[in-house]
């Protein structure tokens, strides 16, 4: 499903979704819904509900309460993204199941795991939970206060934000944290002015030509999104050096196959291709469609979501 998301959202940002036939779009929607684990009759699988990433362990007539048949929070997130991008009305999304599934994944300290029965927990999944809740417009799945506490406790001594308390600040987790606060509607109240200013400094310091993920690490195409989108949310995106970023991003493009890589003279891949064009979209370049910096879908798809509520 994540590969489908990079492809679909990538085409959307390129304003090329209609290069896909209507039949293909509808088939894809069907496939995505097949990956949904909905509440069964007695609700015994409530904690498992959400979406899986593929039919890897799916078989005919399987009991939706099968042990190990658990949803994955990041797959639920990209599933909803893909459905919106394809113009689906989300009417077949089981909100009761989804929110039960989310609740089962939130820990006491406010963080989220990705899946039941054994998974790491960190800021990535807090972000997924917030996006999911935003898209279904139903916040029963998250204890917001605990989630906020977890985010604030993950702010590092350098003003950046980490995957969890006391770990090294990282642009990816910083994006996840700030986007989450934004989606929960408490960015302005949760982050003191001084904290916000130190964070902005940390973020702008990530630019070399392109952007890096941590101090003294190499620049990498995808950080043009993680850092760029965070700056966009904080209202400071226009302070970056557009020219240098554009030159770096275009230098990571493959002349042979198209697509973007993390570095120059490296093989391209779907993730970096997608985030590369997102980086350029944030900079409003090349007539790319505008993206929603927190949800990571086009504003076109977001407008569709707005019309659904």
């Amino acid at each position: 499903l994540s590969l489908a998301f990079f492809a679909l959202s990538g085409l959307d940002v390129l304003n090329a979704l209609d290069s896909l036939s209507q039949i293909l779009k509808e088939d894809t929607i069907q496939w995505i819904y097949k990956l949904q684990i909905s509440l069964n009759n007695d609700g015994s699988n409530a904690k498992q509900c959400g979406f899986r990433g593929s039919t890897d362990i799916f078989f005919d007539n399987m009991d939706p309460a099968s042990p190990f048949y658990n949803s994955h929070i990041a797959m639920t997130y990209v599933a909803l993204n893909c459905l919106l991008i394809l113009g689906d009305d989300l009417s077949r999304v089981d909100k009761d199941g989804l929110t039960s599934g989310l609740r089962a994944l939130q820990l006491d300290n406010g963080c989220f795991a990705a899946t039941l029965n054994g998974s790491e927990d960190d800021m990535r999944f807090v972000y997924c939970a917030c996006c999911i809740s935003t898209m279904i417009n139903d916040w029963r799945g998250i204890d917001k206060n605990k989630a906020v506490d977890f985010i604030l406790s993950s702010i590092g001594y350098d003003g950046g934000i980490s995957q969890g308390p006391e770990l090294e600040s990282h642009a990816g987790s910083t994006f996840c944290a700030i986007a989450s606060l934004y989606l929960m509607g408490c960015l302005d109240t949760c982050l003191a002015d001084k904290q916000s200013e130190i964070l902005k400094r940390w973020l702008v310091n990530r630019q070399i030509d392109g952007f890096q993920g941590r101090p003294n690490k190499l620049q990498d195409t995808c950080y043009s999104f993680w850092v760029g989108a965070t700056l966009k949310i904080l209202g400071l995106y226009d302070c970056i050096d557009f020219e240098r970023q554009r030159q770096y991003l275009l230098s990571t493009q493959s002349q042979l196959t198209g697509g973007f890589a993390k570095w120059t003279d490296t093989f391209p891949d779907p993730l970096h291709s997608y985030f590369g064009i997102c980086g350029l979209s944030l900079a409003r370049e090349f007539d790319l469609l505008e993206i929603h910096p927190a949800l990571n879908i086009t504003m076109r798809a977001y407008d569709h979501l707005q019309r659904l509520s």
Partner: protein, 343 residues
């Protein structure tokens, strides 16, 4: 047969012997992946991949608990190390079959060395350590991984978890602060090592006055060696924040200004001074007379100009933004005026 070594798994599974040709699995009906609706992302699985997972699906369906199922999970994780479900089922088998967890620890250690950025293998190791309640190998293991990649996030994260849960900070065999000091000496630009330093002190002695003085001296030593290193400046600012005001420290302001006078062109140096002056301005704003305040403001303005015009051109627009912030807070002066390109 144990599966303590993934190479052993792989050599027991040469491409020619597929599960579907293996007589020991003749009683099991493989289940193909349901790709009936998949028009997008049709993955071209290799024959081996398909074979392993056809049988894994069958085993998950029947919930078979057996040695051969355990061996199957070895092949499945070797084929696709990122599949959560396989690792989860393997952990169930480890418990139900009462497998030797130290053998498994050795296996996962070798796996991590091959796939050091995979989340699932690190999580699996953490679970094993939890089950065993034994972290005696973890510091040397993470140190081994960090030798290959001193900034590996998973290694540092696992290390922090072990230090915390098992209180491994300081004993006759090990001192974490000494380890961190070595890492910084090895590469002063290793941001992960500086983060770990903060973590260790925060969780052991805390930043008492004496420790803080020591850390300021320590950090300043590394700043003079590498004045453009963001990590050490971030650490300096971080340890002072909320504990001590930089401008009140007996030496910091003068030491920094000395570096400037020696033409050390470091954006972090100038930014630190800018913050220092701003902090002082915050405190004196209403108290002291205008002259002193104007002096401070003039200096701050100069730093902004130097940064945006010469020392840190990448962030030119940001330093202009900082200028505007200062003006909004404290008013204008000769070096601090609203001019130049609007952002």
């Amino acid at each position: 047969m144990t599966s303590s070594n993934i190479d052993e798994c792989k050599s027991d599974y040469p491409a020619s012997i597929l599960y579907r040709h293996n007589s020991k699995w003749a009683d099991v009906t493989p289940i193909e992946q349901d790709d009936s609706l998949t028009s997008v992302v049709r993955i071209a699985y290799s024959e081996k991949f398909k074979d392993v997972f056809d049988y894994f699906r069958a085993v998950i369906k029947s919930q078979e608990i057996s040695e051969r199922a355990f061996k199957l999970t070895s092949d499945a994780v070797a084929t696709c190390p990122a599949n959560y479900t396989v690792w989860q089922y393997r952990r169930k088998l480890l418990k139900d079959l009462k497998k030797n967890l130290f053998d498994e620890l050795e296996m996962i250690g070798n796996f991590i060395i091959e796939e050091p950025k995979n989340y699932q293998v690190w999580y699996h190791r953490r679970v094993l350590v939890e089950w065993l309640q034994d972290a005696t190998q973890e510091l040397s293991f993470t140190a081994e991984v960090l030798q290959d990649d001193p900034k590996n996030f998973h290694a540092w994260q696992h290390r922090q978890w072990c230090l915390n849960v098992f209180s491994l900070w300081n004993n006759k065999d090990h001192n974490e602060l000494a380890f961190v000091t070595d890492q910084i000496k090895e590469d002063v630009r290793n941001n992960s090592a500086w983060n770990q330093r903060y973590y260790v002190i925060n969780n052991t002695t805390g930043f008492s006055d004496e420790i803080l003085d020591n850390e300021i001296r320590y950090t300043w030593h590394w700043i003079t060696k590498a004045p453009n290193n963001e990590s050490s400046w971030n650490y300096l600012r971080g340890i002072l924040n909320g504990r001590r005001k930089a401008y009140l420290h007996p030496n910091l302001k003068s030491d920094c200004l000395y570096l400037v006078s020696q033409e050390v062109r470091s954006s972090h140096l100038l930014a630190f001074l800018l913050d220092l002056f701003e902090e002082e301005l915050d405190d004196v704003n209403n108290d002291i007379g205008n002259d002193y305040k104007l002096q401070l403001l003039a200096k701050a303005g100069e730093f902004c100009n130097d940064l945006s015009d010469e020392v840190d051109p990448v962030r030119r627009k940001y330093w202009k933004y900082m200028q505007r912030q200062l003006i909004n807070k404290f008013g204008q002066c000769d070096s601090l005026k609203i001019n130049g390109d609007p952002v």
